[in-house]
């Protein structure tokens, strides 16, 4: 079973829709620590403010169960967009600590070039830097839908799954052991996103 964490930010429904469409097995949307503990895989979605996200996770009492299932029991977790950023150690958005599951920082886009709007919103390409179970057999020249004003900076180059160009090269995906993060929205990226989510369901 895959549990999509419902912490009142972002769109668990869209992810569930795509998982159903690709036949990704049993899916539940939940903020019940027991249900999260019994999941085989966890998806942490999210759109919105980092601080609000951390506060919601804390208020719902989900930080401890996530730590236990991800760091001790090594269950695969996929953070999407804000969910990816929450897995990092710290964000400039709200100047706050994150879950810290991966050695990375979340930073704000700042551009001199006025044609580069923030948020980075729309379709963009990625370049995969390594092969992991999630990006096995993906289409050539994939494109994905992004909406974000902050980006992740990984401390370890080995953790970088893929990068994207927008004013600079930034980390659009990471992987460290059982911990995966995608800055873009696979659930809103047609077949390109389906491929990644279908792979995650098989880990």
């Amino acid at each position: 079973m895959i549990t999509i964490i419902n912490y009142n930010l972002g769109n668990p429904k869209s992810i569930q829709n795509m998982l159903k469409h690709i036949g990704g097995g049993e899916v539940c949307i939940s903020n019940d620590p027991d249900e999260i503990a019994s999941a085989q895989r966890i998806i942490l979605p999210g759109v919105g403010h980092f601080q609000h996200g951390m506060e919601q996770l804390a208020e719902l009492g989900l930080v401890d169960v996530l730590k236990k299932e991800v760091l001790q029991n090594k269950k695969p977790i996929l953070g999407i967009c804000l969910g990816m950023q929450l897995l990092t150690k710290h964000s400039e958005e709200g100047n706050l600590a994150g879950l810290g599951f991966i050695d990375a920082q979340t930073k704000k886009f700042e551009f001199q070039d006025v044609t580069l709007k923030v948020p980075h919103m729309g379709w963009n390409k990625v370049e995969f830097k390594k092969n992991t179970p999630v990006n096995t057999g993906v289409s050539i020249n994939p494109r994905y839908y992004f909406v974000h004003s902050y980006f992740v900076d990984c401390a370890n180059q080995d953790d970088i799954l893929c990068t994207t160009q927008y004013g600079q090269e930034f980390v659009s995906g990471f992987q460290h052991q059982n911990i995966f993060g995608l800055q873009f929205h696979p659930e809103k990226s047609h077949k390109f996103g389906m491929e990644l989510l279908a792979n995650f369901c098989k880990i």
Binding site: S14, N17, V47, G48, K117, H120, M121, K188
Partner: protein
């Protein structure tokens, strides 16, 4: 490099079906909305806009069941407009899986709504539709509620008001051009792009892919079209088409 602009089909809901208007009038039946979304899905459209043209005029809430059905088939970003008159209604729509809400009537009497939605979902989730047409005495004026109520503002003025209120994106919708295939209103597009910081989507009058190229040069972040994607000319037979991967090939 800036991102490639998005090419966005616009689908109009009326009496629960998919309709197409001309210059905001005379809705004609196109087909089943769910079926249309499936086809657009297969064509891998960049984004989809769904507008319910009955809600604000009849002062009713969105058809949540229909939106839910549409979104469950849509694996791309979806914007929804029509009857977004309160934060509670917007929240219901977001929970169904919609990414953006489109606001028009609230620009007249409830600018705070834009800020309220942006505070929770981010400015990128709040799109203001600037609908405009030529007035009787010349000059271009923005309108509210499906083009039925005068705003007293020029589209440029209303665009700035919407941006200040919290909109993260604008749709410039030329009522006079809708479904005419006369080309986009590039002149106004350029003026508005220069006047605001937020992304601008152009709508009304698209006739061919060449219009997308010009709109891109004029600074559009997106190009919306209805008739071009649901009709085949010259007789406007219903035929769904879309230039897949146009800016990515």
């Amino acid at each position: 490099m800036a991102l490639q602009p998005r090419i966005i089909p616009v689908l109009l809901l009326h009496k629960g079906g998919l309709y197409k208007t001309k210059q905001f009038k005379n809705p004609s039946y196109v087909g089943d909305p769910i079926n249309a979304v499936r086809i657009f899905n297969e064509k891998e459209v960049d984004e989809l806009l769904i507008l319910d043209i009955d809600c604000s005029r009849e002062n009713k809430e969105p058809d949540y069941t229909l939106i839910e059905e549409i979104v469950s088939e849509a694996f791309m970003p979806v914007g929804y407009g029509g009857g977004i008159s309160s934060l509670a209604i917007a929240q219901k729509v977001f929970q169904l899986g919609v990414e953006k809400v489109i606001i028009n009537t609230a620009l007249k009497n409830n600018l705070q709504l834009l800020a309220d939605i942006a505070a929770i979902y981010g400015a990128q989730a709040v799109v203001a539709s600037i609908d405009y047409k030529k007035g009787f005495l010349g000059g271009t004026k923005a309108y509210f509620t499906n083009g039925t109520k005068k705003s007293g503002y020029t589209p440029q003025e209303l665009a700035k008001i919407a941006e200040k209120a919290g909109a993260g994106e604008l749709i410039l919708n030329a009522i006079d051009r809708e479904s005419t295939y006369n080309g986009y209103h590039f002149e106004l597009l350029q003026q508005v792009v220069n006047a605001v910081q937020i992304p601008v989507v152009i709508s009304g009058g698209a006739s061919s892919n060449a219009d997308f190229d010009i709109a891109k040069l004029a600074g559009a972040s997106g190009m919306a079209a209805g008739s071009l994607f649901v009709y085949q000319r010259p007789h406007n037979a219903v035929l769904i088409s879309y230039p897949s991967n146009y800016f990515y090939l």
